[in-house]
Structure formats: C-alpha cells, structure tokens
Symmetry: C3
Amino acid sequence: MFHTLDIIGTIAFAISGVLVAISKKMDLFGILIIAFVTAIGGGTLRDLLIGNTPVSWMRDMTYTYVILITTVVTILIKSKIDYLRTSLLLFDTIGIGLYTVVGVEKGISAGLNPIICIALGTISACFGGVIRDILCNEIPVIFRKEIYATACILGGLSYFLIRKLPIDNNVVFIIAGSVVIITRLLAVKFKIALPTIYKD
Amino acid sequence: MFHTLDIIGTIAFAISGVLVAISKKMDLFGILIIAFVTAIGGGTLRDLLIGNTPVSWMRDMTYTYVILITTVVTILIKSKIDYLRTSLLLFDTIGIGLYTVVGVEKGISAGLNPIICIALGTISACFGGVIRDILCNEIPVIFRKEIYATACILGGLSYFLIRKLPIDNNVVFIIAGSVVIITRLLAVKFKIALPTIYKD
Amino acid sequence: MFHTLDIIGTIAFAISGVLVAISKKMDLFGILIIAFVTAIGGGTLRDLLIGNTPVSWMRDMTYTYVILITTVVTILIKSKIDYLRTSLLLFDTIGIGLYTVVGVEKGISAGLNPIICIALGTISACFGGVIRDILCNEIPVIFRKEIYATACILGGLSYFLIRKLPIDNNVVFIIAGSVVIITRLLAVKFKIALPTIYKD
C-alpha cells in the first residue's frame, strides 16, 4: 500500500510540472525535465541530506517509468486537464501528504531528532515544487500567501503525537498524511493564509 | 569557544535572512525558511561536498533552536533592528569569518589540498547568502560590486600561512577569522571593490 | 586519452562561463566563480547523486589549475575570443560530448540501470550550464529552443547500443561522444528544435 500511495504522489507532482512547463512555452524536453524534477526533487534532496546514495530514483526504476508515462499522457490529454484543476489540486495535495510522512519515516530510520524528521518530511514534500518554480523563474509556491509547508509541518507533528498510541503503524501513516491533506484543502477552500510582517 | 563563535555566526546569518525575507513581504513561514537557509546553507553544501552526512544541523539540534529563537526575537524587535544596520554588518561579517575557518578546518580533516580547503571555507561562508538571494529573486550578494568572498579567500590563505608557525591552533583560528573580518570591514568603509572587465 | 579529453571539456566550459560572466558585468571574482561552477557543476551533481564524495574536483587538483589558468587566459585575450564564437561552440560541444560519456560510465560503475546512466550522463553534461544561467539570472540554455540535452540523450543511447559489439571500449567512448557532438552541431547548423506544446 505504501508504495502505491507513493506512486500516486509522484504522478500528481509530474502532472503539475508538465502543466507549469507548458505554460512557460518550454519544448518537449524541457517539459519532461520539469516533470521529473518536480516529482523527484524533494526525495532527492532528502536522500542527499541523510546520505542515502545513490538516491532513490536511481535505484528504483518505477519512478522513472511512472514519470515518463505521466508526462506523455498529460501532454496528450492536456485539453481535458484544464477542466481538472480541482482534481489536480487534490492529487498535488495527496502528493505532499504522502511525501511528508515518507520523509518523516526516513528521518526516524536515520535516527534523527523528531524536529529534524519533520523538517525532512517538509523538505521532501515541498522542494520539488520549489525547484520547479526556480527553474521556471517564478517565486516559489511555498513563499506565496498560502498554507503549504505549514500543512506538512502539522502533519509531521501529528505523526509524532499519535505514534506512541497503541495503533498500527499504517494507521499512523494514514492519519498523519490526512492531516496534511485536510489542512491544505481547508486552507485553500477558506483562503486561510499566514500573516506577513511587512508594512507599507 | 569554537562552538560559541559558531553560534554567533549562525545568529548573524539568521538575522540577515529574516530582514531580507520581511522586505520581500514573505509570510511567517517564508521568513523562517529564509532564516534557516541563510544560516545553514553554507554548512550544508560543505557537508554534502565532502560526504559528511547526515549534514551537521540534522545531528546537532543547537543550530535549529538558535535559528528558531533568533527568528522570533528578530521579528518581535524588528522596529529596533533598523537602527542596528551597523551591528548587523558586524555580525554578518563575524559570521563569514567564523564559517570560513570552520570550513577550512573541515577540509583539512578530510585530507584535502589547501586550495580546496580554502574553496570549501569560502563556500561555507558565502553559499547561505547566495541561496537566500536566489530564493528571494535577487542577484547574489557575492557577485555584486563588493569585497565579500575575496575576504574569505584571504582569510583562508592566511590560515595556511600562519599555521606552520609555533603557535596554538586556537590562535591560528582567531587570526585567520580576523583577517576575513577586517578585510571586509575595511572594504565596506573605504568602498573598495574588485575591477570589472566589461566595457560599454 | 580519457583524461586529456576530459580536460578539453573543462576548458571549454570554463571559457563559456567567463564570457557569460563578463557580459553580466561581474567583477573578477564573480567571473572566476562562474567559470568554476560551469566547469565543475555537472560533475559535482553527478558525484553527489551517486554518493561519490568528496566530489571529484576536491580530490584531483587538475580541474582547479586548469580552470584558474583558463579564466586568466580568457580574460587576457577576451578581445580575440569574440572572433572565436564558432570555436567556442565547438569546444562547448566537445565538452558536453565528453561529459555525457564520462557520466554514463560512472553510472555503469555504480551498477545503475542504463536509463539512469543516460540521465546521469545528461545531468553531468548539462547541469554546469544550467547553474551558470541560474546564477546569472537567465532562463537555462537547455530549456531554450535548441537541441542540447537531446544530443546528450542520443549519445547515451548510442553508447548502450554499440557497447555490446565486439569493439574496444575506447572506440565505444569516441563513437558515443561523437554522436552527441555531431547531433548538436547539425542541429545548430540547420536550426533544428524540438516542438513546443504551447498555443496562443
């Protein structure tokens, strides 16, 4: 089950990369690169930081195949995707939910402090989108006025709060991931944003 | 003593990150991220390049706590910080002085050539500011007309020149760090810059 | 022979970095940094991804000396280089040809899947130029309308197609590198580009 959800997250991130790259008038190769970077960027930085090399996507071909197929399919059905913005938000949010918890668990395996594990989960979830935006010359999404990384941090916190309860680890995984997903969806629906300090 | 000075550098870099992020109208989370990245960016790249993983801030929680507290305090007293620009320059300069020498010593421990050690020290000192400026969509400070990385290189050179003298290692550390600090402060005071090649 | 060709690629990339940095009105240190980053960026990311640390240029001083000398010479003869744009394209193309095959071979040594090896070769060849362009605030060259990374991918594919033939490994190296070089030169000469998806 774990791996299936991981793949869903990869697909969602790849789709978001394709859509951004097309809007930037990139050529076919540029689109593929942005899809790839968006999908594996977060996991790559996570693996580099904890010294888990060669990084995951280099050892498990599933990621590569999934991203290639997703990119081709997304380009082919692009006219229909425009009607699917809500689904895309949903997929993207499932993506950050899953990547957050995967990152947290990798941190625990590496024996790191809970706060660092949460940071690692947030990095895993957010960095793909950050590097996508930098390559496309936009201000990274997580710095814009929207709950994004905050949802990941809340999910990571809930992971550590509930994992000491006498429940199955898969259930902890699902609850923590759901916290990320629900927080983000509620924030988007009700346009909740963090305050800024800047004054004109 | 070594660790104390390292923490002072971390604080200075975190403050500079907070101030830049606020001026970019980022939200609270964005400010924290920029503070964190500015403070640990250089050390992280240094650790990745020499294969010292998990990277330092993941194993020693001191950095995280210091950055969190510094960020909160800086936001709270922001109105007063504006009057402290000179202190900030001083702190920032102490930061690059310390990070340069720490980077040089990590390179020596890894058995690297002196030139590479100096490069590593300069990377440690400068990369946090570079990544801060890239994330904030500005041209990195070290490429602007100002002595910055050059001060780090001079400090690194002086480290290798004096370490063969019969003096204590802590003294070598302090002298080399001071070379960085004094070079930078003199350059700012007297507006010394490197020449450019470009001709209109 | 291998090492000689590697050095030629390093020189070509360093020259291209110097020229871009000068056009951006950077100071002497900025020029040196951009030359260095362009020349070693791709190999550094490659080494980090496969966990080959300390990264190559930190262990073999040849790269550093070659880049330093190339930078100084390029600045001194800059007025003449302007007449050499064709030679520069040629050198740069030799560079990506060589770096692609070196990257592919490093991937094979690390026991990676052929597709991943080709990706690694392409990253080695292209990332230096990407990071040069990001630091100089330009849209990366590989995303512009021009065959660039595609040439690397074709070269990597040809490497795996011909390496099972009963021919010497050096010959495989030269043929695959030549595929990259010829593809790129033909694409530039005949202005061949990949199609884009974007419609106004």
